[in-house]
Amino acid sequence: MTEHAAPGTSAQIEPATVTLTIPCTAEYVSVARLAILGIASRMPFSYDEVEDVRLAVGEACTHAVERAAAAEAESRRVAALTGSGAASKKSPAITITSMVSPKTLTIEVADNVAATSGEAGTLPDEFDDPDVDHQGLGALLIEILVDEVTIDTRADGTTIRLKKHAPAAT
């Protein structure tokens, strides 16, 4: 993780930026949440707001992990159908960039998971109810928990940008 402190002499204070890159796998999502907990705690947020940011970032990372699993499954399916070995490629990663300014915390969750054909990535089992849209639930949570959300989907990855504003001083 790298942290760049804003220069104190500039007329306008630049946001401090903290960048963390993790493997795009389920076991590392908690690492991202832990880091965000520390960063959000530096903001004038309430306990609930800090927890909201933690959950929103967790959901954004989970979205990337699930897409990576789907892409991996699709790659294996194609390899099995064509009889060729799965193409060797760079392991997917998630980069979480937090920009801390006095009134707003902006967090970008960017992955390098290529878009898939949209087919399910894992085989359903008895508790994977087709009526339950996990990603829809995650998207709903993100929408509710932060003030602004933008999603940029590209062929080579997705970036989810979250903004949480600090409450106005009274």
Binding site: E126, H134, G138
Partner: protein, 117 residues
Amino acid sequence: MNLTINSRAPQTDVRILDVEGEVDVYTSASLKQEISAAVSDGVKYIVLNLSKVEYLDSTGLGLLIGALKRLKENQGNLVIASPSVRIMRVFEITGLYKIFSIYPTEAEAAEKEGLQL
């Protein structure tokens, strides 16, 4: 923190699962396995004590919805007991509190659901 699950069986068709830790995309598989095993054993009512759960995400919620549906098909139920304020908020903001039976204590869950715990 990972997830630990302690299982109690006060009746043959009732299972209480004391869940502790974080339920997320990494750990939810173990909870899914525990619930699946209980259902395979003929359990109709599962009481999830969430008092020591400090994090629950959409993966966990999705798992609980699937389990609820499966148990209801068997004329049973998935009962949530003792969620913390934080976890309760996740059920509230998603509107899922409307489909789950959620009680502040295990004793109240037992009384309202007619279970002997």
